[in-house]
């Protein structure tokens, strides 16, 4: 301890963690690549060992619904990249959100939620969670004071997408985190659009970070996956709002998750209770696929952001485009906040309005050939969709308006192809959009 050399920490940095975190080859037959543990269950040494695992006396694996060695590597890797204490991977981003809410809330509880969300997430909060007795008040993401006003006695947390889908509105995360913490509740942030390469929400006050790993983290459009990451700073014992975290839990011989596991209590509860009882586990093959994507996360994100900024410039100057929304645009309402929260790049999601409204939008979508028309984002390939007729089509007119959607909006997820090829493809789409009737008759 008296060695005077190296007074700066030598803990591994982002790009190294992306490749190595969570995995020790010497404990896996020297396999350089993470093995795919394609198994349902794990041998116990004896009855004592089995009991110890079930009682959480030891760490280890019992059954792949609860945990799996390949999935655990992914969980540790994402926790390390986010600056979190622990993580729990799930079968999809939606199951991650559901599991996080069910770990936090009970029937009779309330959440304050940003209104600008992926359509599926809106429906979860608006329609499905009330069936479990959990109610939501939606607040526009830029209405920071609105989050404060919406907090009730039974409010158990604030949830939002850091950059709203699909309108690119940005939550003022540091201020909203303060509002949440002043009320003694955690802030949960879906940071799928950013990945930890662009923003680490925990550094800005978030307590729980959620990703659809399906998107940029995996990056190749091959595999569904989600994850919950715990920041470890939130004090569950500061008030009596979270009895399922602080009081003895019958399901594990009177265990208090907060007392026993402190900065990893939320993850331990989500796994021990949520995975046990709901079971939205991630397959080891999909975990491995996501790990392959994460190995090149920073390389891909740089290229995604570089291409996105070039596309923003192109769209801003295009005669067929009515408006462009991307945080890199200086007159974007959240441009300054984006510079603060997203210093490594503003992401590769662009929303733009096409002149000619819905018909022009449909013609554009039908006539681009390189860009793929599908319901995903964050692929290495460029993706386009018309939200009002697809991802958000289950919303009525009033909900669409509240969610900030318009019928002329095209959502663009910029890929890492050659930028000239993307622009040429869009020229074909715009050309067709200017003559929608002629094209549709061909």
């Amino acid at each position: 301890m008296s060695d005077k050399k190296g007074m700066d920490p030598k803990t591994y940095k982002f790009d190294t963690l992306s490749l190595h975190a969570g995995y020790q080859p010497h404990k896996n037959a020297g396999s350089r690549q993470v093995p795919i543990y394609q198994t349902t269950s794990y041998l116990f040494d004896d009855v004592d060992h089995a009991a110890a695992l079930f009682n959480l006396e030891r760490g280890g694996h019992i059954y792949s619904r609860i945990s799996n060695p390949t999935v655990a590597v992914l969980e540790e890797r994402v926790a390390s990249l986010e600056g979190g204490t622990a993580a729990l991977a799930t079968s999809s981003g939606m199951s991650a959100i559901f599991l996080a809410v069910m770990t936090l809330c009970e029937a009779g509880d309330h959440l304050v939620v940003s209104s600008q969300l992926y359509g599926g997430t809106v429906n979860l909060f608006r329609l499905t969670l009330p069936k479990f007795g959990i109610k939501t008040t939606f607040v526009k993401p830029r209405d920071t004071e609105g989050f404060k006003k919406a907090i009730q006695k039974n409010t158990k947390g604030i949830f939002g997408e850091l950059v709203g889908n699909p309108g690119n509105e940005i939550m003022n995360m540091p201020e909203i985190a303060k509002i949440a913490h002043d009320a003694g509740i955690p802030l949960m942030v879906d940071a799928t659009y950013q990945t930890p390469y662009l923003c680490k929400p925990i550094d800005h006050g978030a307590d729980i970070v959620i990703h659809s790993l399906t998107k940029w983290m995996a990056g190749h459009g091959s595999s569904m996956a989600g994850i919950i990451v715990e920041g470890g700073k939130f004090d569950w014992m500061q008030n009596d709002k979270f009895p399922t975290m602080t009081q003895p839990y019958e399901g594990y011989h009177g265990l208090s998750f907060a007392e026993e596991f402190g900065p990893t209590a939320f993850t331990m509860k989500a796994r021990a209770e949520g995975m046990r009882d709901f079971g939205p586990c991630l397959s080891p093959q999909n975990a491995w696929n996501v790990l392959q994507g994460i190995e090149t996360l920073s390389v891909r994100m740089k290229k995604h952001c570089e291409n996105a900024e070039k596309m923003v410039e192109y769209l801003l100057g295009h005669e067929s485009v009515a408006w462009v929304s991307h945080p890199s645009v200086p007159d974007h309402p959240d441009h300054d906040l984006a510079n603060k929260l997203l210093p490594n790049g503003k992401g590769s999601m662009i929303a733009f309005g096409i002149k000619g409204g819905k018909a022009a939008g449909e013609a554009f979508i039908n006539n681009v050939k390189l860009a793929s028309h599908l319901a995903n984002v964050g692929d290495t390939r460029t993706l386009v969709i018309h939200p009002a007729s697809a991802t958000h089509s289950q919303m009525d007119e009033a909900t669409l308006k509240f969610a900030g959607l318009s019928h002329d909006m095209i959502r663009l997820s910029v890929g890492i192809e050659d930028i000239d090829d993307i622009k040429n493809d869009f020229e074909n789409g715009f050309r067709a959009a200017r003559k929608p009737r002629l094209v549709s008759n061909q």
Binding site: M7, G22, Q24, N55, E57, P263
Partner: protein, 271 residues
Amino acid sequence: MKFQVNNNEVYASTGGRPFDKNKPLIIFVHGSGLTHMTWVLQTRYFAFHGYSVLALDMPGHGLSGGESLKSIEDMADWVSDVIDAVGYKEASLVGHSQGCLVTVECTARNPDKIKTLSLMGGAGAIPMNPELLSLAENNDPKAVELMMDWAHGPAGHFGGHPVPGLYHINTGSMLAKTRTIKNTLGVDFRACDNYKNGFEAAKQIKIPTLSILATDDKMCPVKEGKKLANLIEGSQIDIIDNCGHMMLLEEADRVLNVLKKFITTNYPPNK
């Protein structure tokens, strides 16, 4: 559970089982700036297998009240007071790092009260790097970052936590930041630096003693651990390969297996 010692509230994990005065007592003492949570992969086992367990939060740490104690000697007396406060006449002690200094001193001062001693990452003295000490006393979070760097071996830096999904370095950092750094880590580091009686105390210990050491421990290297262990009559040494100072988490299973064999042999549980 919470109880009073010297008019201050003390928190101790009982390993997930009710505290039962009819069972033999094992007390776990954490390292500098940390809390009872470092012991979670040892305490629950013993609590479910015939022992009463107290993984203490030292005064001013974790969920315990009061202010951090300023000397290893005061901490040693306080651990002895804990045994009295919970109505026991004897106990088995387990310490990690600074907790080793505390438990060695406590055992030397209370030869009839302590029945076995288990030391993890221990040494007879832990002189502090002056810059690290200064950072901690000035409440600089860099002190925690440096401690986490040095406290984990090369393998631990990559991860591979025994509990699926947990990441060693960040979890350790959060534990060390539970309370104000200068009031916990700063005070503890100064106490370690000031403590000079470890080797003399060790010579007085006559009870069964186990030292678990790790080959990649930069904070209390194997050489220092052996120097301490060799002063204790009949002490056992177990050395873990490819592991750092946080062996109780980095190699939790190995540590538990060694600890289990040692304690159940020398201080049997109630059947």
